[in-house]
Amino acid sequence: MRKALHLKKGWGQQIVFLGPCLLFFLTIVVTPFILGFYYSSTDWNGLDLDKAVWTGSANWKRIFMNDDKFWDSLYFTLRFTAVAVVGANVLGLLLAFILMTALKTKKILRTIFFMPNVIGGILLGYIWQFIFTKGFNTIGDLTGISFFNLPWLGTPSTGFWGLVIVFIWQTAGYMMVIYIAALAGIPKDLIEAAKIDGARAPQLFKSVYVPLIMPAITICLFLTTSNAFKMFDLNLSLTKGGPGTSTQSLAYNIYAEALINNRYGLGTAKALLFFFAVSIITVTQVWITKRKEVSA
């Protein structure tokens, strides 16, 4: 490594260049992460910040034997993630295909579809709270379509679909942008060749487009899966986990356990489980889709 030679010595430079980054990363991310292993086995209540008595496996027992709400919220989160990921990616890919054709308005359309993304989930939740409770009613009265007169946010199942709708509305445009970039990178002659060989649209899609944009599919699935699984802001402002706790996401359950019930120790234990769940799900997903990637 001749290139690196002149940097080989020089601790001064190592400290100046890497020091600040490491300082903040270790303090803000690594230290809390390690502390989590300790606090997850204590009765830390958050009020007496420095008092936390070691309780061994009490929190874990409680979670596994005696905490239906946690498992309900895990089940809710898994269902939500499955539906939201498929929805956001199907719509995103569809929009990308539409906007790859010679539309005159494609620039402005691209802007519009991307727009919900730049606004934070907390505000989007409030916007949709108004739409679901007031806007839909009015549209329902005007058009007579019963879909709009459903008790949105009022029942567990409509609340679930309400969150799904808002998540897809927010995320599809982001995925669209990534898919457009991927589609634009496909060599034109490949498509021509497939057409000359007699490939029709469904076959073209399945055997040419999908394999070639597999890297983008990996990324989009990773982004939507981890975002949907970690959903918090939207949950807080749109349904507050309600009615009851029927639409409570895992992230919201942890938040409520700690900051509303003041059980920080228990919350930390749940947060640790949450971390393992996120890791397993996203790593598995990336591993599966990565294997399907081909090079053109």
Partner: protein
Amino acid sequence: MQETSRYRLSTFILEIAAILLALIFLSPFYLVLTNSVKGLREILVDAASFPEVFKWANYADVWKIIDFPKAFWNSFQITALSVIFIVLFSSMAAYQIVRRPSKFNSFVFLLLISAMIIPFQSLMLQLVRVTSILELRGEIYGIVACYLGFGMPLSVFLFHGFIKTVPYELEEAARVDGSNPYGVFFRIVFPLLMPIIVTVIILNTLWIWNDYLLPVLVIGGNKDLTTLPVAVTKFFGQYTKKWDLALPGLVMAITPILLFFLTLQKYIVEGVTSGSVKG
């Protein structure tokens, strides 16, 4: 895939369909915007109609209640400071990692990348503890420090990928001309990183500006530092059924970031694309 140059009837039909879909996509914004200038009674009677008279007073009231200039300035300061230091520190770190690939530095890089998978909820409670020990809570430098920590992994990763493609010859020439390592980085390398700097700025600005939970936890009770999303959320909680006040608050909260997006949309879309392709 290149676009076909012919504009056929089928293209026209597709265009109409796409425009209709876009209008549906936009309709939530339309409803929020038009109802934000109606009186409460008018909102409750008919949320779909165009306002009879524009009640701009709604906005004036909310402006005062949430102290908009202050909340905006807090958000602006926190976002700007965080983003500036993220760009500076993560580009320097990535440069060192690429140009001095020692075992330690490779390990640091691996650690940073792995941390990207940790959800915020897994850290937040212990972070509250850490920030209070270090007396970072309720202070602007405290929340900026947190954003630096959380912003580092992705930003270092993006810079790392980009710096690998920067040719080394330029740096060598500068060194032969007698420049020291710091001069080489700041005068030669840093300007070359501009495309990825824009990406890092955009990705970090979007999440830091919109972030809700971290300011709640770290700024907490210090009302002088309340950010815009937090101000609106508190306000919204109090006035949930008073839509004539809640809606103008929402519009005021989303306007700054929407303007940011509409002015810089070309760079934002490019930044998001290159950020995700590398991520």
